[in-house]
């Protein structure tokens, strides 16, 4: 389901990547990255390697630091696997075991295990999407480090350490204060970029807000689901084919996958687009500074050829970033609209389906309770209802 966050990935048979399985050891998740390729640049047509979350971050950071890719939107790094939520709940559950009945405890435990599983699945999918974004990008999929990541069958941790020493997060630190530079406004010559800048800054703050609010909503849904667990445990009337609680709980996780994940993903993607704008703005600033330096050199009649060459380089770099940036931002918009459409449709369809299921279940409960002495009658109604689900 989360694959619909970014549509049309992993379609090109020349390089197919997926994460077929993963292991969870305490805090660490070990992903199995599986590649199938027809490209001759790889040593084998099919192979798998084990990777950790830190390896993904290394790959992302090296791409960000690569000058040649300054004009591209680098796909956002997958977030660190976070089992803190369910773990804390499991801990609380253990502490409160004495105060609850066996049924309640078992049910809550089952629910928590499902939560763990959901977090696990989600983290596998975001890591997978990251790689698939790279493999479907015409420039990034040729990156040497990307190939190493996919192919190198030894531990990457040595490379990771070296990389840290080399770059020291130079670009990253610069990018952190990106917004201020953009906002304080290098004078923009291009309408397209002026519009993009305004749009992306505004959109980013709005989508960040929406993401946070959507997360709060799904948390409330979870709380209600937990309440229903306790209520049904106390009532002793447990009909465990599909209970009210299960449907509420399921909705919380489906809604989360659709809406919250969509918003969260695009929030990060828009940040990546902002980073591109920032780099271009930086290049523009460099170009303008090189102009000033050239004027100065001409005034002083000193070092003119160097200044001219420097100015040319800055201009070239700026033009390259602008051309590439325009392409990237245009396709980004298209990608976003397509993904939103797909997700919103799927979400609405799910909501309808779930509401129908819940209606049937509620009707069933009503019948059942009313006909407590007419078991045959209740059984008949039950059959009719289940055929409708």
């Amino acid at each position: 389901p989360i694959r619909s966050v970014s549509v049309d990935l992993n379609n090109d048979a020349s390089l197919l990547i997926d994460i077929p399985d993963a292991l969870c050891e305490r805090d660490k998740v070990k992903f199995t990255v599986h590649t199938k390729t027809t490209l001759s640049s790889f040593q084998k047509p099919e192979f798998s390697v084990p990777r950790q979350h830190e390896d993904f971050i290394w790959l992302h950071d090296t791409l960000v630091e690569t000058e040649d890719y300054a004009g591209l939107i680098i796909p956002p790094a997958p977030p660190k696997p976070d089992f803190e939520g369910p773990r804390e709940k499991m801990h609380k559950l253990g502490e409160g075991e004495a105060t609850m009945t066996k049924e309640e405890y078992t049910k809550m435990k089952q629910e928590l295990e499902a939560e763990y599983l959901a977090v696990f699945k989600k983290t596998v999918q975001v890591h997978e999407i990251f790689l698939q974004r790279l493999s479907s990008h015409p420039i990034l999929n040729k990156d040497r480090n990307f190939q190493i990541f996919l192919e190198y069958d030894q531990d990457l941790s040595v490379r990771r350490k070296n990389a840290k020493e080399m770059f020291g997060g130079f670009f990253k630190n610069m990018v952190k204060s990106a917004d201020e530079v953009l906002i304080s406004g290098v004078k923009e010559v291009d309408d397209f970029f002026e519009q993009e800048k305004t749009f992306l800054l505004d959109y980013y703050s709005k989508i960040k807000d929406s993401t946070a609010k959507a997360e709060k909503m799904t948390r409330s849904h979870k709380n209600i689901a937990d309440d229903y667990i306790r209520i049904s445990a106390t009532l002793n009337i447990t009909m465990s084919f599909v209970s009210l609680q299960k449907v509420e709980g399921r909705v919380a996780s489906d809604q989360e996958l659709k809406l919250t994940e969509l918003l969260r993903y695009y929030m990060r993607d828009i940040q990546a687009a902002k980073d591109l704008l920032y780099r271009r703005a930086r290049a523009l600033a460099d170009y303008e500074n090189s102009n000033k330096a050239l004027d100065k050199a001409r005034l002083k009649s000193k070092d003119i050829p160097q200044a001219e060459e420097h100015q040319q380089q800055c201009l070239q770099k700026f033009d390259k970033l602008s051309e590439s940036g325009k392409k990237e931002l245009t396709s980004f918009k298209g990608r976003r609209v397509v993904a939103f459409r797909k997700n919103l449709i799927e979400m609405a369809e799910l909501e309808i389906k779930h509401a129908k299921v819940r209606s049937s279940i509620q009707l069933y409960y009503i019948c059942f309770i009313m006909c407590t002495n007419e078991l045959q009658y209740a059984w008949g109604i039950c059959k009719i209802l289940c055929e409708q689900i």
């Binding site: 609010k213 909503m217 309440d227 229903y228 939103f340 459409r341 909501e351 309770i369 407590t372």
Partner: protein
């Protein structure tokens, strides 16, 4: 879709009736075994295929069970007033025809704390007990407490389960009196109105209490002498009285030898029920809170999504996001209504029964007290007989006559004590039977109405999302 029904309710016992239903079907146990802890146990209602209940099930339109008799014109109207429906749909008309409902009239002005809320109590009946078919009176909260106190003093000690009156709430009432016209004081007024209505309905449903002159006077007479010293009359006061009885029981020197297993079993049953209900009540209160939170979070998200839609530069997507915001806002309203239903149906019902069970336990304690009294008189008689024998031995004729008189008196007292004990035991048996029947009916009808609200919410949600779907598909 394969249906697997697994019933968890103590040891699953399969009766032959169940097994014959479906040879191929999944295992089916009698859900409502005589599990003493099952809230729906002892349901003895027959549901025939032609009963009005069946129409409720299979009809599409609004059914009698959903439309209230007369909407209470209270400050806020909760969705359904259930007291009325109960009488007309679930019992045959001859058996018991007295319905009443409460409306809040207004706050009777007075200086500061002397102001009070007046309630209009309307009764509709076909019983000859009453002078008219339909009539109304005006009552205030202390009147209800007064009624309860009178009934408690008359009937509790002989074993009748007198429904407890709603709790006093100084804080809540003060806000109203001070004239605060806000959401929470409106909610408070409605909560109280509803609680008083349920209290009165339970009282008149009791065949003995209904005939009590104090009850008749309460319902009928336009003027009622003001109940004084409502301190002792509150539910808290009742609790104290019950606790006193419990203390007395604990202090009993001779442990009562329960010859009747029924009483022991029933007391245990009510103990368990008490625990279960309190737990349930706590969970439902948590549910109400969380649903209110959900509603708040939804409203907040809806606003945020609307802003996002405004910010979006792709036209069709922008419109879809705005539509999404609208849908979420409408659903938020639904959730709010649902939270009200959660509260008024489930939470209040459970709260009522927690208090009712306390009253039931009190009645059992009264029986013990009665037994104690009987035993005491018996012991006294024994002592007097011993004293008499001594006097005879010592030949004191004048004192002897006095002793004989006292003995005669005590013998009568002992006989009376035994009769009282037998009477209260008999009464309690009947009362518990009636109470359990009522309880099951009450729970069933309330749970069904609650489920109906859930159902309505779902149907509405389907409509909203189905309206949204084409908007999402229109994004190109």
């Amino acid at each position: 879709m394969f249906v697997l029904l697994c019933f968890q309710s103590g040891p699953a016992s399969l009766t032959t009736e169940d097994l014959s239903t479906n040879a191929n079907g999944p295992k089916q146990a009698s859900l409502f075994d005589d599990d003493p802890d099952d809230l729906f146990a002892e349901a003895t209602e027959e549901v025939s295929l032609d009963s009005p209940d069946r129409d409720v099930l299979l009809s599409d339109g609004p059914s009698p069970a959903i439309t209230p008799m007369t909407p209470p014109t209270s400050v806020i109207t909760p969705r359904i007033g259930h007291a009325h429906d109960d009488m007309f749909t679930h019992s045959s008309f001859d058996e018991f025809c007295c319905v009443l409902w409460l409306n809040v009239v207004f706050l009777v002005p007075g200086d500061g704390m002397n102001a009070y809320m007046a309630y209009k109590v309307t009764t509709k009946t076909s019983m000859s007990l009453f002078k008219l078919r339909e009539f109304s009176v005006r009552r205030r909260f202390s009147d209800f407490l007064g009624l309860h106190s009178k009934l408690a003093s008359k009937y509790l000690h002989i074993g009748y389960i007198v429904p407890p009156a709603p709790e006093k709430s100084i804080v809540g009432m003060t806000k109203v009196k001070v004239g605060k016209e806000d959401q929470s004081s409106n909610e408070f007024v409605e909560k109280r109105r509803s609680a008083l209505e349920r209290y009165l309905m339970r009282t008149v449903k009791h065949p003995i209490l209904l005939k009590d002159p104090d009850v008749l006077q309460f319902l009928e007479s336009s003027e009622l002498p003001r109940a004084v010293s409502t301190q002792a009359l509150s539910s808290a006061g009742l609790l104290r009285m019950v606790n006193k009885a419990a203390d007395a029981v604990n202090k009993m020197t001779i442990k009562m030898n329960e010859s009747d297993a029924w009483f022991e079993e029933k007391q245990q049953h009510f103990e368990n029920l008490d625990v279960q209900l309190r737990k349930l009540h706590a969970s439902v209160e948590s549910l109400v809170l969380h649903r209110k939170e959900l509603s708040m979070n939804m409203a907040s998200f809806a606003k945020s999504a609307a802003m996002l839609g405004n910010s979006e530069d792709h036209t069709a997507l922008s419109r879809a996001l705005s539509q999404l915001a609208e849908v979420e806002e409408k659903i938020d309203q639904l959730q709010q209504d649902q939270a009200n239903a959660d509260f008024y149906f489930l939470s209040e019902l459970l709260g009522d029964y927690v208090r009712l069970i306390t009253a039931v336990k009190g009645v059992f304690d009264q029986r013990m007290k009665t037994w104690q009294k009987w035993q005491d008189s018996q012991m006294m008689l024994q002592k007097k007989r011993e004293a008499e024998a001594k006097l005879q031995f010592n030949n004191k004729p004048d004192k002897l006559q006095q002793a004989k008189d006292e003995i005669k008196e005590l013998e009568m007292k002992v006989q009376q004590g035994e009769r009282d004990f037998e009477q209260i035991s008999k009464t309690i048996r009947k009362e518990v039977g009636r109470f359990e029947k009522e309880r099951v009916k009450d729970f069933k009808s309330t749970v069904i109405q609650y489920l109906e609200t859930l159902l309505q919410t779902q149907q509405q949600m389907i409509k909203y999302w189905e309206a949204f779907l084409p908007e999402a598909k229109a994004i190109s």
